[in-house]
């Protein structure tokens, strides 16, 4: 990464020219290989991001394997982290092209450069907003989820255009061997830049992966899942933040369906057959943690009160908030692992974890594991 002759003894400063950059890393062979790695990282990000969108808004989502969302969302966040050094190295490998003369050769060339600006701007947007969101930090005035989703399509579209434009160069760069460094070159070799990018990507992934990979937790200094949390599990939205207070003995769960309604006290729920399952909470922010949940199987509960099965809308005691209610799809309603949980890791569910009861189901994003449940409404 060194430039010789860039700062020569000239008395005046001038803009650099493409040929001023003599480091070996500024090479199509390096750019093409970094581009492939970056394409894989962005591709994984995009596919897992769309899957997350389907999991949250779609009309179907599988109930198995239990760790499905944990894996897809973990891959989403970690491939985004890996993309940070890969993107920087890729931009470095082609940085001299920024100074190409003439700056705009033709209409086509202008369009190409404009699409590059869109691509890089969108890529920065996705990586930066994604990382701030993982840190539960929101220094912007737009809604994160739909905006991140929209810009993902912009980024992938611009990436396809970029690949279309550069395809001959990509083929050329990949066909040629990386090769040994030329004698007497002072900076990082081509292979050196590729290795350095891989090393930085690995270091960044290991530094963050503890948020979702249990055995890496102690190694990762930048894991945003910071500790195990109360009752052995982190809280993603406290009762205080949600404006929910502990309910008294007069609290009743309402189960409603077309043509019927039943109310149950917490004691009545506790008197129904209890099941204990081990399921992860897997958050959209990329952290996940497993816990042991005890409660009533939702399918059993519906059968016990004489309600039909189908789609179930879960409503929380939370008065406002994006995730105050969620929809249980038919497959999840019938799944024996879908619980209305009363207990967590052998204790009574604490208020911050959703007392009096909460939904826990396999493969659902954490934001849909609704806490402080007040109403289960079977939809027609």
């Amino acid at each position: 990464m060194t430039e010789r002759g860039e700062v020569t003894g000239r008395p005046h400063l001038r803009l650099p020219r493409e040929e001023d950059f003599r480091a070996e890393g500024h090479d199509v062979r390096v750019a093409a290989r970094l581009g492939v790695l970056l394409g894989v990282a962005f591709g994984l990000c995009f596919v897992t991001g769309v899957l997350s969108h389907v999991a949250q808004h779609g009309s179907w989502w599988p109930t198995r394997p239990v760790n499905l969302y944990r894996v897809t969302q973990g891959v989403h966040v970690l491939s985004g982290i890996a993309a940070v050094p890969l993107l920087l190295a890729k931009l470095w490998s082609v940085y001299p092209r920024l100074f190409v003369r003439p700056a705009l050769r033709s209409v086509g060339h202008a369009l190409e450069r404009a699409s590059l600006f869109v691509l890089i701007g969108a890529a920065f947007f996705q990586l930066a907003t994604g990382m701030f969101n993982s840190a539960q930090s929101y220094p912007w005035l737009f809604r994160f989820v739909p905006t991140h989703y929209a810009v993902a399509w912009v980024a992938v579209g611009a990436l396809l255009v970029h690949v279309a434009v550069k395809l001959p160069k990509i083929r050329d760069g990949l066909r040629r061997q990386v090769g040994r460094p030329a004698p007497g070159v002072s900076g990082l070799s081509r292979r050196g830049l590729l290795s350095a990018s891989g090393f930085a990507a690995l270091a960044a992934v290991v530094a963050t992966a503890g948020a979702t990979v249990p055995w890496l937790y102690r190694v990762s200094p930048l894991s945003w899942r910071a500790s195990r949390g109360p009752q052995g599990l982190p809280i993603n939205r406290s009762a205080t933040a949600a404006g929910v207070a502990r309910v008294g003995a007069d609290w009743r769960l309402a189960v409603e369906w077309p043509g019927g309604r039943r109310e149950l006290s917490r004691d009545q729920l506790a008197a129904l057959p209890q099941h204990t399952v081990r399921l992860p909470i897997a958050c959209v922010e990329g952290w996940s943690a497993s816990a042991v949940w005890t409660g009533v199987v939702v399918a059993d509960l519906l059968a016990a009160v004489g309600a039909p099965t189908g789609r179930v809308r879960v409503e929380s005691l939370e008065a406002v908030g994006t995730y105050r209610e969620s929809l249980l799809l038919p497959d999840h309603v019938q799944d024996r692992l879908t619980l209305l949980a009363l207990g967590l890791n052998g204790e009574e569910l604490s208020l911050d974890h959703g007392y009096p009861c909460r939904i826990i189901a396999a493969t659902r994003p954490g934001v849909l594991q609704t806490k402080w449940v007040a109403v289960l409404r079977v939809l027609p």
């Binding site: 890089i120 840190a135 949390g229």
Partner: protein, 155 residues
């Protein structure tokens, strides 16, 4: 939209058309999503548009100047070690910035984002540099031995 001299093939034209359509879909989603008020537009623009100039005008020149300095001041293979170490360090600082600063953060959530991140990050960076130092020292030692041996063989 051709980069090379040759005419673009059907695959490339199709790819570019699909890409443009996907980009358009994203743009439509974005236009529909954001509130068209000056404050929100400014916020979106700040995150969407500042990346490329921040890289091209600040980060990349900084990297270039650092590269020149490292090349002038350090011999091989220490030069490589420092460049690789700085790259990894910069990456980790960038990735760590949201956690270390947390502007406009959510209300406190027990078990999330409540670690003291700086000491852990510094220790991790220390381990990265020690690893790089050990590998580089090994390389330097092997080179010196090889050079000595070939000098002895030559004499």
């Amino acid at each position: 939209m051709t980069a090379g001299r040759g005419r673009p093939g059907g695959v490339r034209v199709a790819l570019a058309a699909v890409g443009a359509a996907v980009m358009g879909y994203g743009g439509w989603l974005l236009a529909r999503e954001i509130e068209w008020t000056p404050a929100v537009l400014l916020s979106v623009a700040a995150w969407l548009v500042t990346g490329p100039p921040a890289h091209d005008l600040l980060l990349a020149p900084l990297v270039a100047v650092t590269g020149v300095l490292v090349a002038r001041l350090l011999p091989r293979p220490w030069r490589t070690m420092v460049v690789v170490g700085l790259f990894a360090t910069g990456t980790l600082l960038l990735v760590g910035t949201p956690l270390l600063t947390r502007p406009s953060a959510a209300p406190p959530n027990p078990g999330l984002d409540d670690r003291d991140y700086l000491p852990g990050l510094l220790a991790y960076l220390g381990a990265v540099w020690v690893l790089l130092f050990a590998v580089t020292a090994g390389v330097a030692l092997r080179r010196r031995r090889r050079a000595r041996r070939s000098a002895q063989n030559g004499s």
